[in-house]
Amino acid sequence: MLLAPFKFNARRAVLGLALVCIFLAPSQGSRAQEGANDLAGQLERAASLIGGNQLAEAERLLNQVLKVRPEEAAALNLLGAIRAKQGKLVEAEVLFTRAVASDKRLTGARMNLAYLFLLKGEPEKSAAELKEVLRLEPANAEAAYRLAWLLLKQNRTDECIDLVERVRQSQTLSAPLLAVLGDAYMRRGDRGKAVGALKSALELSPAEASYHYTLGVGWLKHPADLQEAEGSFRRFLGLRPGDAQGQLHLGYVLLKQKRHAEARDLLERSLQTGAATPEAFYYLGLIAQGQNEDERAIGLFEKSIQLGPSFGHVHVALGSTYLKLKDYTRAQAALETGAKLTPDDTKAHYNLALLYARLKQPERAREEMLIVERLKGEGKARDDDGDTFAPPPL
């Protein structure tokens, strides 16, 4: 689940473009003030029509303006917005670019261009436009938020944090910007600052479900605080009761706390609400395994593998169940697959060592134990991160 509402889909982008356009207020000089007022009125009318989806009427109005003033930046920008809304992105880009060329200080057109570049998969160009907007208008909160979000998406975490912290020095951060900052700190591994930022975001927008979700994910980072994570995911589900990802994550948290019955209930609900993920079946399998229902566990692990054949941890879980049942052939196949898919999984290698020892293959057993030891030395052992099984995608 993405933290920010800044998503790459045409509908949102065009809506965004239209919104940006509304803030365009062309300013002109004295003698021409009357005419300028008239121009501003026309542009505002056009923006309003675009907002009401009356594109043909808006275009007619804008063409009237452009006939008189062919390089009128604000009109070009609005016409670009219409083209974007019509899905004609190439034409839209040309119009936005002309608008910017005509008036380099027209930040609205640059914002639209930034959006467009994102849609075209050109994040660097998008970032450049947003940076230019911020150079022109350092207090432009929208540009700051979008640039921060973009940097975060590009894994330029430090730049993102620097940007937001700079903005913080001159203005109060908005909830979305605080949320991006929290996410960035989380990725940097500074859970304290991440939680601080997300809590501030939640003070401003307590009903924003995604913040609760992100905070919950944060509490799951090492060292996990399961009580806090549980609280966050419960609040998230309070706002979005049927969200399958939320159910999956809360189910995971409860499983970690060995509250098997509650975890099972949530995970089964997550399956019903559409999240037939490998993780959900995996966790349900682990619960069955923990309750001595080995055959049921095997069935659930196999379903998980069907959905995600490359999900290594479930192969390991399946193999360890077969090992427990002394079905060494199946155990070997599953564990070897698991170890191949997740070579850093100590449980895979440990169970392989136990298996080879039982199969009277001491050399292979020793090799596997050496891998376990090496992984422990590298701090990759499961006990070192406090986890006994794979977390959901965080």
Binding site: K324, K347, Y350, L354, A365, M369, R382
Partner: protein, 563 residues
């Protein structure tokens, strides 16, 4: 009024406050005070250093050979006391045989042992009197029983005063020469001149709360094996035998058992936060560490646990001795089922002893048959190490054996003594009142211990077997005893040192349910000799001498009010 008394259920019976467990019938009564036990274990309220959290062991022994179990409580010091050269007193209580004990510490000369940790008991010099080995932070003590109610500290002469921070110990005849050798586990290398700063480092934090540091982040110490020369001295054979623990894992509980039934005793060391050791005895004076390959080093996830106490028994009656280890909280107590061939499986969740243990820090433990039904149950003494957190004091656990490979935790239904929350540590088990059932003694970290008299009204029969070696060591430590009564077949071993750094009754206890005859008692002595005794009556203490059979039998003391 009379009718009311007659109808009074056992759960409201006056005297002990204990209740009858509907599910398992366990009934234990706290008799600490009425038995005259006034010992108080010393620790600081804050426990700013790990060394102030880990003591103390307790032993049940019969030091005066009067047939009644006496109790030795190990006491510790505090950092402040150590600096000010203050002292504490460990205590020996003589069992008068009437339900009360006399403090004989001073007369016996066993009170001043410094910073005590744990204890192991055995007759190391084969003179017929049980001796005491106390592990300490600093030099350990071997207290030779003079046979007249007094002891002599012979540590220096014997050469077994390991100066490190020792924890678990076990007398063990690893070379089957009839003389008991001694294995000692060591924990952390603790420097009193460089005390770790409370709460400072990452390893001094627990769930965001500042606490004592360690053991992680601290250097550990290796272990020791001393070979008994037979002349009152021992030789350090640690390295030669291959049990030195060169990586300095944090050794805690120790237990010796012939896990693979090859006639050679093996040694298991429960290590805290590091992989456990299972030393397989190769029979040539050396051991091979097979913890990893046997499946006992780690839990089923391949993770090292915070292991503390340890006990061994054939809980599932498959003829193989299984292993149970207590652990730190948020992790489960682990049951390693012996699959034969020196392989074990983590059967903790399958046996239903895992999930219930998660909130607790487990210490002293033992498989013991509280209701004499012929199936060992399981006790765990609990208590946290950090007084800074909410659940520092914890209740103990009692798992009833369901006879199908699973257990049910019944402590909460077993009366007041099990509802009480304390910081339990060492625990020892034995029939203190010789009435045929097993009683429990727990040494608590702060203050008074707990003496729990078993008043379970099972009506079942049982037998206690005391082994006397002739060619083997005098106590018969390492002897494997099989008791057959109809379709009930049980196995156990005589062991020195188990639980958490503690010592239980060296006599073996077998419940027989309602069976009125023991068809066979088979003893395989450490030297390899086998004695078989047929048609034995239950409800008595049998003394069996190697090669001679039963040389003495005493009927259990009747306890009609409770039986």
């Amino acid at each position: 009024m009379l009718a009311a008394l007659i109808l009074l259920p056992l759960s409201q019976a006056p005297g002990g406050g204990a209740t009858v467990n509907q599910a398992g019938g366990a009934r234990f009564t706290d008799v600490t005070e009425q038995a005259g036990i006034t010992f108080k274990h010393v620790s600081t309220p804050e426990k700013r250093y790990i060394v102030e959290s880990m003591s103390g062991g307790v032993a049940l022994l019969d030091y005066d050979n009067d047939g009644h179990l006496d109790i030795y409580f190990v006491n510790s010091l505090t950092v402040d006391l150590l600096k000010s050269k203050g002292k504490t007193v460990s205590a020996l209580y003589r069992n008068r045989g009437d339900g009360t004990f006399a403090d004989v510490t001073q007369k016996a000369g066993v009170g001043d042992i410094g910073w005590g940790m744990g204890i192991a008991i055995a007759d190391y010099n084969n003179d017929g009197f049980q001796d005491i080995y106390v592990t300490c932070v600093g030099a350990n003590h071997l207290l030779k029983n003079n046979g007249d109610g007094t002891f002599t500290d012979v540590t220096e002469k014997a050469g077994v005063g390991d100066p490190r921070w020792s924890t678990g110990a076990s007398f063990v005849d690893y070379d089957n020469d009839g003389r008991l050798d001694l294995f000692v586990a060591n924990y952390v290398s603790f420097d009193f001149n460089k005390l770790p700063e409370f709460g400072k480092e990452k390893t001094c934090q627990f769930k965001g709360v500042a606490v004592q540091c360690g053991p992680r982040g601290m250097a550990g110490d290796g272990d020791s094996l001393y070979r008994n020369n037979g002349d009152g001295t021992f030789t350090d054979v640690t390295k030669k035998a291959g049990v030195s623990d060169p990586n300095g894992y944090y050794g805690m509980g120790v237990i010796s058992s012939d896990f693979d039934e090859d006639g050679l005793v093996d040694i298991f060391v429960a290590n805290d936060s590091t992989p456990n050791f299972l030393y397989h005895n190769k029979g040539d004076g050396t051991f091979k560490e097979i913890g990893f390959l046997s499946g006992t080093a780690l839990n089923e996830n391949g993770a090292a646990q915070g292991c503390m106490g340890v006990t061994v028994a054939d809980y599932d009656h498959d003829g193989k001795l299984d292993l149970f280890v207590t652990n730190f909280d948020d992790d489960y107590n682990v049951l390693y089922r012996n699959d034969g061939g020196r392989f074990f499986s983590d059967a903790s969740y399958a046996a239903k002893i895992a999930a219930v243990s998660l909130p607790y820090v487990g210490w002293g433990t033992k498989f013991f048959d509280y209701d004499n039904d012929g199936w060992v149950d399981l006790f765990v003494a609990n208590g946290h190490v950090y007084p800074q957190i909410k659940n520092f004091h914890q209740r103990n656990l009692l798992h009833r054996n369901n006879r199908d490979g699973t257990f049910t935790e019944v402590a909460e239904q077993s009366g007041a003594p099990f509802a009480e929350k304390r910081a339990g540590r060492g625990a020892a088990f034995g029939d203190i009142d010789n009435d045929g059932d097993t009683d429990i003694v727990v040494n608590n970290l702060d203050g008074a211990p707990l003496v729990l008299r078993n008043d379970t009204a099972s009506g079942n029969n049982s037998v206690l077997i005391k082994t006397i070696g002739v060619r083997s060591n005098r106590d018969g430590v390492g002897a494997r005893v099989k008791v057959v009564s109809g379709d009930l077949v049980q196995k156990d071993e005589v062991r020195s040192g188990d639980s958490y750094i503690s010592q239980s009754d060296l006599r073996l206890h077998f419940g027989l349910e309602r069976r009125t005859k023991i068809d066979l008692i088979e003893i395989r002595w450490p030297g390899g000799a086998v004695d078989k005794i047929s048609d034995v009556k239950p409800n008595r203490v049998l003394t069996i001498r190697e090669g001679q059979g039963i040389v003495e039998q005493k009927e259990f003391k009747a306890a009609p009010a409770r039986r």
